[in-house]
């Protein structure tokens, strides 16, 4: 730990405030956790817009029955890349951006443990994103296989599939490097007195997430590599005619895929666990049980993957096991929700934008958790699997969950990062518009799924028409509301009012208590002493 402190600030003598590199070089060569965090966040937002445009193409086509705007192949490609880009391009990098900005400040370190690797982890992302976009223009168009890339449809797909596989390899490398950095920073670079059980919960959630990432990204890489060799090198992993098994792909994919949903959710829990206490002016209720609940969720997440495959054909014993294990996850998840509510209980609450988004998260994520519980029951899931009910479920946890939490985090820390305040009125508008349009878009999809509308179809029977029209209108509203967010952020950075030293009365982690606002270029050149 001492050694790390001695070395990290010294790696580049020329990196001090006085002569920090300027212009493009500052970003391309950056080894500064704050600049890299900023780049992650902007990258994430751009990908959010790209994925959002794809979502709007999907929803516009589904506004009415019949094929209006796009043809089925292109529609399938939009489904695929919307999912991939939102998951790997928008949500995951957003939370890595938060990790970069906050972890060194919250544990009292000067920077991340491996600043050069940090630079590389970020700069791997743009080429991967580019591959996903270029894939649209390959002969035959993008691969219309769904973000799950199930074999053997993926073996059939055109050359776009190879670019997609390559992009996933690169994204995986980036995630693993980012995780190594986070784990090392948290384990080795904490300030004296900052014991693990004193860390802000955000750091805990990232420590756990980083272990999940290191464990499962190689599994995904393996799955897509097997697809690649099936496609080009004559192997038959997923081809029954050659002795393989298409369902094997699903097992491998979901062994990655279920932990992946927690990779998305757990850092979101972390952000919310910082925001709710701050605006309740009261310490987080049940800190230790939060840590244990998060760790149990992470461990359980490795044991439930086949709940995505209840209809794929499994022995009934296996189905029973996966049902029980899945239901079990509801217990630690419930504990977290109860803790958040107990934190607010008898607090002194105020409702600035970060708190609003955190409450939106709490309310809607829990709703998504409940539909998840419904889906975990095998006989019910057999009815609902691969219908719009599932689409509604995962958007409640990923959009109203992870994305709302990211918004909460941005509004919360923007003053610390930029030294300027966002416009509270506009922030509230952004919240209410997002909340309303989100529900208009996705709540009705529960009904569609219950009534039997399959997902991933470009056209549908007439009895689904009304709810699809409503959902599409909601989607446009939601999309436009995000432009307001962009405006608010740019306005804050360029001409926001100067932020007070400590804009949030109840915020108590090191970045608020021990650092000036805006946070200096190097956080803690000498480690703070934590009592």
């Amino acid at each position: 730990m001492e050694a790390a402190h001695a070395h990290t600030p010294g790696y580049g003598h020329d990196d001090h405030d006085a002569h920090k590199p300027s212009g493009i070089k500052r970003w391309v060569m950056s080894t500064n956790h704050k600049d890299i965090g900023t780049m992650y966040l902007w990258f994430s937002f751009s990908m959010f817009l790209v994925g959002g445009v794809m979502a709007l193409i999907i929803r516009s086509e589904l506004f009415q029955p019949g094929l209006q705007i796009v043809q089925p192949d292109f529609f399938n490609s939009m489904i695929t890349y919307h999912g991939l880009i939102m998951v790997f391009g928008a949500i995951m990098p957003a939370f890595v951006g938060f990790a970069n900005w906050l972890i060194p400040m919250q544990v009292g370190a000067p920077d991340m443990a491996f600043p050069r690797m940090n630079n590389l982890s970020f700069w791997l992302l743009p080429p991967a994103a580019l591959l996903l976009i270029v894939a649209q223009f390959m002969p035959g168009g993008g691969a219309g296989v769904g973000w799950t890339l199930y074999a053997p449809l993926s073996t059939q797909a055109g050359p776009a599939m190879d670019l997609t596989i390559f992009a996933i390899h690169i994204l995986g490398m980036s995630s693993i490097m980012g995780s190594i950095n986070i784990i090392t920073t948290i384990l080795n670079m904490r300030a004296p007195g900052m014991t693990l059980m004193k860390m802000p919960l955000f750091c805990w959630t990232w420590l756990i997430t980083a272990y999940l990432l290191v464990a499962v990204m190689p599994v995904l890489a393996g799955a897509v590599t097997m697809t690649l060799t099936d496609r080009h090198f004559g192997t038959h992993f997923f081809n029954a005619a050659g002795g393989g098994d298409p369902v094997l792909y699903q097992h491998i994919f979901w062994f990655f895929g279920h932990p992946e949903v927690y990779i998305i959710a757990i850092p979101a829990f972390g952000v919310v666990s910082q925001v709710i206490p701050a605006f309740s002016r009261k310490p987080l209720f049940g800190y230790a049980s939060m840590v244990y609940a998060t760790a149990s969720i992470a461990i359980l997440s490795f044991m439930v993957w086949a709940h995505h495959m209840y209809t794929a054909g499994m022995p009934v014993e296996a189905q029973l096991y996966f049902m029980y294990a899945t239901v079990l996850i509801a217990v630690p998840t419930g504990v977290k929700v109860f803790n958040w509510v107990a934190t607010m209980w008898r607090g002194s609450l105020t409702f600035e934008t970060p708190m609003l988004f955190a409450l939106g998260f709490l309310f809607l994520f829990t709703l998504g958790g409940f539909t998840g519980l419904v889906l975990s029951i095998v006989p019910v899931d057999v009815q609902l699997h691969d219908t719009y009910y599932v689409v509604a479920h995962f958007h409640y946890v990923m959009v109203a969950g992870a994305l709302f939490s990211a918004f909460a985090g941005i509004y919360f820390w923007l003053p610390k990062w930029t030294g300027r305040m966002y416009n509270e009125t506009l922030g509230k508008w952004h919240f209410w518009l997002s909340l309303i349009f989100f529900n208009v878009t996705f709540f009705v999809q529960h009904f569609l799924g219950l009534a039997g509308m399959p997902r991933r179809i470009p056209d549908y029977a007439l009895q689904f028409a009304e709810f699809n029209a409503i959902s599409s209108i909601g989607a446009w509203g939601f999309g436009l509301a995000q432009l307001l967010f962009l405006y608010i952020v740019i306005k804050t950075i360029t001409s926001g009012e100067k932020a007070p030293e400590k804009p949030w009365e109840g915020a108590d982690s090191l970045e608020w208590t021990h650092l000036p606002t805006p946070a200096p270029w190097h956080s803690f050149e000498t480690p703070p002493v934590v009592k």
Binding site: L67, R281, G313, V316, Q319, L320, M344, T366, I377, A465
Partner: protein, 379 residues
């Protein structure tokens, strides 16, 4: 536009949708189940949803209470407690107990659902890109075999006949040949696929089972009421995934018996004598039908394919080259592309379709491939 303007629009919008909803036949819940098992599943879903709803109201009752009563603006001062072992243990154990209570009925239903033993009728459903094939394997109607393809006119789908679409209550949920089964009989459905994954999904009968190429899965249902029940392929299977519905027609026993024997006679009549000698014209005419059934989805009726995705057969080097190569390609497919093996077609079908493609559009090879050629190529 000011706030007032926005409100006007909002009210107008709400009215518009309310008026739509008023005449719509939309549904808010699972389709009415037509099997006893389906009823069980329906009830299970209701119970779980209600339990979730009650917990939701309870938890967020507390949250909203705090939101209104414990806010700073009403002068509430923050307490500083942050632990309480008793409540923490309670809210771990009580949910666990509720979950066990949910799992018990679910277990019973699941075990019943998976019991496919002692069926009265066994039907194999094979998923193809993009239609279903059915073979009646065992029970009354044994030997019946047909394909079932979307029958909604293309013009309704691509918008040339919007009026027709709006007047079509079964838009996208209609097929040329229904799967017919008798009422009150246990029907076991074996699912498999010829190319990629599909899933056989009929909501009202409470069945959904993936169809996995190279493997057989099974599911079952026992319809309590005669009627026509409609479903769709539920696993993404490529371009026309949204266009391969499933229609199950449940008939009274007597009617079913009549249907089955008529079908069996048809099958017998249609059985082509394997020793029949075909004229090239007959082969081409037969091949046109086979082509329409099996190849148009990709290569198109014009033989021009879809640029970038499916090659044109018109003018193709393979089709205009030696017949033997084309036979091999169509029989075995091409690994790693959407061109799948068509081994499952009969010798006459394959001979026909190959003759047809070699002598249609811009292709004027002039030869005829006979069933005997196919037979030879199979070995």
């Amino acid at each position: 536009m000011g706030i007032k303007g926005i409100w006007k629009w909002a009210v107008a919008g709400a009215l518009y949708f309310w008026s739509l909803a008023a005449w719509a036949e939309y549904k808010l819940n699972l389709q009415t189940p037509q099997t006893l098992l389906g009823e069980k599943i329906y009830d299970l879903h209701t119970i779980i949803t209600v339990i979730c709803f009650v917990i939701f109201i309870g938890v967020f009752g507390f949250m909203f209470y705090a939101v209104f009563k414990h806010r700073k603006s009403v002068g509430h001062k923050a307490a500083q407690f942050h632990e309480n072992i008793v409540v923490e243990v309670a809210w771990t154990l009580i949910p666990a107990a509720i979950l066990v209570a949910m799992a018990v009925p679910a277990t019973g239903t699941l075990i019943a659902m998976r019991d496919t033993s002692e069926p009265d009728l066994t039907i194999k459903a094979t998923g193809y890109q993009w239609k279903w094939g059915y073979d009646y394997l065992k029970g009354e109607g044994e030997g019946i075999s047909f394909y079932s393809t979307l029958s909604t006119p293309r013009a309704q789908i691509d918008g040339r006949d919007v009026a027709g679409r709006n007047a079509n209550p079964n838009y996208l949920l209609e097929v040329d040949n229904h799967v017919v089964v008798p009422v009150g009989k246990k029907v076991r459905v074996l699912t498999t696929a010829a190319d990629v994954l599909h899933a056989w999904y009929v909501p009202a009968l409470a069945v959904k089972q993936d169809a996995v190429p190279g493997f057989i899965r099974d599911t079952w249902f026992k319809a309590e009421k005669a009627g026509i029940y409609r479903g769709q392929c539920a696993e993404l299977c490529g371009k026309d995934h949204g266009f391969m519905p499933i229609v199950v027609e449940v008939m009274e026993q007597a009617q079913y018996t009549a249907w089955a024997s008529a079908q069996q006679k048809k099958v017998a009549a249609a059985k082509v004598d394997p020793n029949k000698t075909w004229t090239p014209e007959e082969l081409k005419a037969h091949g046109e039908k086979v082509y329409a059934q099996n190849c148009v989805a990709c290569h198109q009726a014009t033989g021009m394919g879809v640029p970038g995705a499916f090659p044109a057969l018109s003018g193709s080097k393979v089709v205009n080259g030696p017949a033997a190569d084309q036979i091999k390609l169509v029989l075995n497919g091409k690994q790693g592309t959407a061109m799948n093996a068509f081994k499952h077609l009969s010798d006459a079908d394959l001979a026909g379709v190959i003759t047809y493609t070699r002598n249609s559009w811009n292709n004027k090879v002039g030869d005829a491939t006979t069933p005997a050629d196919i037979k030879a190529a199979r070995n």
